[in-house]
């Protein structure tokens, strides 16, 4: 059935012994079996910022005080032996992001299936005393469903998790990202082994093509096809690059995968290398992600030490070397040709395509460049079969997609759903609904959901039942993009959202082509005019014209998509733009220059606090009498409204 690789000549006898995955798996399982329970502390960025490490340390101390033996690492090479003296041995480990960032620090206890939320170091004594020693629950730390008020024991009862399908994220948040043996014990690297020993490059590419996998980095290009294009290029030297630049501000899926399951990315790259015939690869990680950089570096070193990466992979005679490179803070470097320039040590400027990287990429050699999530999906396909991926999602967008759900939504965090989930499911069922500015549930629902970051567009409540997949989104002027979903409530000014993205892309434009460099600057200036109240209705037409010109005339995806947020808000929220230019009003009350402050006479008690605070002396009035604002003098700084204890000042 397959053209098995012929084992190469092993010239030197001291080559690393080829790894026996089954042996590692058995040894790990054996070593872990001395532990009766496992306590997993989420050590994703969110939980860490909320003090997860303090919780970890507190567990260590509290358990030891109770005479419980604690293993913080399972080492199959030096397994811990349970002695008669130990009443209980526990495994205390850290994991990558478990996704429910809003509720962190998270502590899960297995095999009981318990998830404790918002855990502080002071809570640890109770968890140890009740749950670990007595098997009882600590109710106050369990998640309570805000709608049903039901107390949930663990992920199986929590709506946020129940409605998700976690494939790529399955290991993230469960395993110890720094333990390669645990990854192997769950079937890790068996897909790479199969690719190197039992499949030919052709069959690897075929299987990925058959699965229908599309790139998760934004464009949705069929991965198998991309590999095949690179495979057929002549020449002995080819490269695989993992794009971990994740530039979309408001997205952190790739970060979580790199932090939580770095070996799945490495395995995906090994398979890609086998598919195209590459022997060298780069993982390019954003410098803003120090933990991801550290975890990926560690994973590469561990895989080399285990004889998985390096020379003579699995005894196939083939080699694969992997380098990790940190970016230096440029959004445009997420674009593939710019990223390649950056690896070459140059300014990260995109090049015209063709030639595509498949023909001429890194150092002019054929190169495959894939997104982190794409690569992390690859081993799953080889392990479970191409059909398994096709079994979920949409016909044209099979599989699952991770999203970073953020903004004005109750459950912010990292989620994964099949392609074709609707906005309603994501925002209301998983996300738990919309919040107002004060952080309370907002019955008015959302105004817009921004998808795809600065290259994407917005969706409105009209799209609540739209299926989220590559094609459906493109049809409504948005895109899956990397998967950032930012929920915005009714008090968000859409013009200012468009301006926010415009400022971002204008800043990040590399300056190579005129339309992108100057066009984004002018668009930003027009948006400023609109927000300052100096624009007219003609400004809107000009803005639209310019947006289309930038879209058409820019060289790379940055410029081509930079106008998307403007065009999409202009399309769906034209009335809001018109209110700014025609009535000089910001319906959301956010644009300071358009503020129309007024003191409500029936609420003002004449305490004089505002008049004393006003920096320009625009407020007049006698003590114990209603005050008035001189709108001509007012600079709309808003200090008066902040000062007023009686909510008497509106419109600013």
């Amino acid at each position: 059935m397959c053209n098995c690789a012929t084992p190469g000549n092993r010239s030197n006898a001291t080559a690393v012994q080829t790894v026996d995955l089954n042996q590692v798996k058995d040894a790990y399982t054996q070593a872990a079996s001395v532990c009766s329970r496992r306590i997993v502390i989420c050590a994703g960025t969110g939980c860490m910022a909320n003090g997860a490490m303090k919780v970890f340390d507190a567990f260590h101390i509290a358990l030891q005080e109770q005479g419980v033996r604690v293993l913080t690492a399972i080492d199959p090479d030096e397994p811990a032996q349970a002695s008669e003296a130990d009443e209980m041995v526990l495994h205390l480990s850290k994991s990558g992001c478990q996704g429910f960032c809003q509720m962190g620090p998270l502590v899960s206890i297995e095999p009981d299936g318990i998830l404790y939320t918002l855990v502080r170091a002071d809570d640890v004594a109770d968890i140890v005393g009740e749950t670990i020693l007595k098997g009882a629950l600590v109710d106050r730390l369990l998640y309570r469903d805000p709608q049903t008020r039901q107390v949930c024991r663990g992920p199986e009862e929590i709506a946020f998790y129940k409605r998700q399908t976690r494939q790529v994220l399955k290991m993230c948040g469960a395993i110890d990202p720094e333990n390669i043996a645990e990854y192997i014990s769950l079937g890790g690297y068996s897909a790479a082994r199969r690719a190197y020993l039992m499949m030919s490059p052709e069959t690897v590419c075929e299987e990925i093509t058959e699965s229908g996998l599309r790139g998760r980095g934004g464009g949705g290009f069929p991965t198998g096809h991309k590999w095949e294009l690179t495979r057929v290029q002549p020449g002995p030297k080819k490269y695989v690059i993992c794009n971990g630049d994740e530039g979309d501000p408001g997205a952190f899926m790739d970060r979580s995968v790199m932090e939580g399951a770095p070996h799945s990315v490495i395995e995906g790259m090994m398979i890609a290398a086998r598919g195209i015939g590459a022997d060298e690869g780069y993982i390019y990680v954003r410098m803003e992600y120090p933990l991801a950089v550290a975890r990926v570096r560690r994973a590469v070193t561990d895989a080399e030490a285990a004889g998985i990466l390096g020379d003579d992979l699995f005894g196939s005679g083939l080699n694969f070397r992997l380098h990790v490179m940190e970016g230096a803070g440029a959004f445009v470097c997420g674009e593939e040709t710019a990223l390649i320039a950056s690896i070459e040590g140059k300014r990260g400027m995109p090049k015209p395509k063709p030639p595509f990287p498949a023909e001429r990429g890194l150092w002019d050699k054929p190169t495959v460049i894939n997104n982190v999530e794409t690569l992390a999906t690859v081993p799953i396909i080889l392990r479970e079969g191409a059909k398994a991926l096709r079994g979920i999602g949409m016909p044209n967008s099979p599989g699952t997609k991770t999203f970073a759900l953020t903004g004005h939504v109750a459950n912010t965090g990292l989620i994964e759903t099949p392609f074709g989930a609707t906005l309603r499911q994501i925002v209301y069922e998983i996300g738990g609904g919309v919040l107002n500015d004060a952080g309370a549930p907002d019955p008015r629902g959302f105004k817009a959901v921004q998808i795809g970051g600065p290259s994407g567009g917005c969706l409105t409540p009209d799209h609540l039942d739209l299926t989220l997949d590559y094609d459906a989104l493109r049809d409504v002027g948005a895109m899956v993009g990397s998967g950032g979903l930012v929920v915005m409530n009714q008090d968000t000014c859409m013009v200012s959202v468009a301006r926010f993205f415009m400022q971002f892309t204008q800043n990040e434009s590399c300056g190579k082509c005129v339309l992108c460099r100057e066009g984004t600057r002018q668009m930003l200036a027009l948006l400023d005019d609109i927000m300052e109240g100096t624009a007219t209705e003609e400004t809107l037409d000009l803005l639209k014209k310019l947006a289309i010109a930038v879209q058409k005339g820019s060289l790379c995806g940055l410029g081509k998509t930079a106008p998307s947020p403007v065009l999409s808000t202009l399309h769906y929220f034209r009335d809001e733009y018109e209110a700014h230019v025609r009535d000089k009003k910001c319906p959301a009350g956010q644009c300071k220059a358009l503020a129309d402050p007024e003191i409500l006479a029936d609420r003002c008690v004449g305490c004089t606090a505002c008049a004393r605070k006003c920096p320009v002396g625009a407020i007049q009035g006698y003590r114990k009498e209603a005050h008035v604002i001189d709108v001509a003098k007012c600079v709309k700084c808003g200090v008066c409204a902040e000062t007023c204890k009686f909510d008497a000042i509106i419109g600013v």
Partner: protein
């Protein structure tokens, strides 16, 4: 106090050696130099260009292209306020204003005269679940209010004062 570092070329050279004097690794080299000095001193850039046999313009071009590289010395404490989408919609700007006001900084003047603080904005720290987020000296703080941010800054000022008394 101005912080002109006279460059210790031995250090730069050892960084270059650690990277095999490979011009392709220019970005990693500059990152290491910056980690050493907290910015890229002009002499160091010139030295790197010469050692790698690259035109100085090429090295300077790379140094100015990437946001991470600083050509001016930074303060002892670096405050990075996230102004990514998630943080922006959850109110990062009032935090920035509060911090700048407390330290007497603006959009143009980003470092305090005593070289204690540099305040910058970044687009997305990947902690969006905790928006708005601010990173002070590599430590991430989530769901920050303007008041809390000022308290964090003041705690650092206090700590520095105590340290200088000892």
């Amino acid at each position: 106090m101005t912080a002109t570092v006279t460059c210790d070329y031995a250090k730069v050279q050892s960084i270059l050696d650690g990277h095999g004097n490979d011009p392709a690794r220019l970005i990693s080299i500059l990152q290491a130099v910056q980690a050493e000095y907290r910015y890229l001193p002009e002499e160091a850039l010139a030295y790197v260009a010469e050692a790698l046999n690259l035109p100085p313009a090429r090295v300077y071009g790379v140094a100015t292209f990437y946001a991470h590289f600083a050509l001016e010395p930074k303060g002892r404490h670096v405050v990075k306020l996230c102004d990514g989408t998630a943080c922006h919609v959850r109110g990062s700007m009032p935090i920035l204003e509060a911090i700048r006001k407390r330290l007497g900084l603006t959009g143009e003047k980003v470092t305090t005269d005593d070289m204690a603080f540099t305040v910058e904005t970044v687009s997305c720290l990947g902690a969006c679940g905790l928006a708005p987020a601010v990173v002070i000296d590599e430590e991430v703080h989530g769901q920050v209010t303007p008041e809390q941010a000022v308290t964090l800054i003041e705690a650092i000022i206090e700590k520095d004062k105590e340290a200088s008394h000892v």
